[in-house]
Symmetry: C2
Subunit: 193 residues, 2 copies
DNA sequence: ACAGCCATGTAACTTGTTACATGATTTT
DNA sequence: AAAATCATGTAACAAGTTACATGGCTGT
């Protein structure tokens, strides 16, 4: 849903043609997210289908077709900027699923998994930090915003991994103290005939 | 890609039929992510198409069809658990896009946006913390893992929002000191005829 | 018999994404 | 004239998601 909203937001500022939407989107997100031009057109088509934008049928002398918001589109943008991103739709995070399933399945070296992930994330974090340092103060606010977002996210991931490593170790120690051999698997009534 | 991988991981432990995959998936992710049963079957179909699982054609006496991994499927699971989640595919985060576009578009009250989001996130964080407290120590490790993930993520989001609020304020102050009226929009050679 | 549940699936749709096709203009 | 660039778009697919249809078994 983010590209849809993004294009709408750009159009709320000024009617534009497809290819410009692309470059504006990229520029205004710090060049971090390359956007296939084709996707602009597919998305525009869907937005038009949904009555949020309309294009002035014919291309102009430069072959460009300008798209603009409808009233509904304007409402949509206002509402988007006016309301916080919904926490409820907790997306299925791959790493979380991996760990959650990992701790319940026998034969998965969860601690090793956590450490490998931590190492990868720390490396990534160093790259990000270097990027930030090398950029000095070029005043590209969107770029900075996106970069800092990655940094804060990666830091949180490392913290979470550390927290969970000790938590998992604790659980493992406790499990081996009480149920030396067997594993999580049991329950789930099978209701056999 | 997470549900695919999740189902594969479950099947790597033990062959299962569709409906059980569903309940196992939900149970082992702390019940946080309800999974429509239909989706299990669509996903199984795609996995079978891709040669990662195979079902024993006919349903058993209880009407169940057991699915199991192929060799390729086993490889896939091994590789999934064996490699860190790729940081490279930085997903397009809605909130980041919203802010990044917001700071480049005139007429968007970014500071207000940040504060509203912060408030919503803090509220959410309190809910999570209460959940955690009330659960005491029931030993549901996957559930805890997922919950803590949400908590660490929300905390990071708040930190980022705070960081960015002051950063945006600074930029605004600087902008009004140097370019009192006009806004970010300019550049982007238009190459008009 | 009928209601409810379990288990199977399918059809339809959404957003994201890429690879390719077409035509016009500009540059070499 | 050939190559590069810009702009338009379409076709095809992935993965997620839901609503619905079918059929068997169970308990009232």
């Amino acid at each position: 849903m983010s590209i849809r909203q993004g294009l709408l937001a750009l159009l709320s500022h000024e009617p534009m043609y497809g290819a410009r939407l692309r470059s504006e989107f990229e520029r205004r997100t710090g060049g971090t997210w390359p956007l296939n031009v084709g996707q602009v057109y597919t998305t525009l088509g869907r937005l038009q289908r949904d009555g949020l934008v309309e294009g002035d049928g014919e291309p102009d002398e430069d072959g460009r077709i300008t798209y603009q918001l409808t009233d509904a589109g304007r409402d949509e943008v206002t509402s988007w900027f006016g309301s916080p991103v919904d926490r409820a739709d907790d997306p299925r995070d791959e790493l979380t699923i991996k760990l959650a399933l990992g701790v319940t399945l026998p034969g998965v070296d969860v601690v090793g998994l956590i450490q490998a992930q931590r190492s990868a994330t720390v490396t990534h974090l160093q790259d990000l930090t270097r990027l930030k340092r090398d950029a000095l103060d070029n005043g590209d606010l969107p770029w900075e915003l996106v970069l800092e977002r990655s940094i804060f996210t990666a830091e949180a991931q490392v913290r979470w991994l550390d927290h969970m490593e000790s938590r998992v170790r604790r659980a493992a120690a406790h499990a081996s103290a009480t149920v030396p051999v067997a594993d999580v698997d049991h329950e789930m009534q099978e209701s056999r005939a």
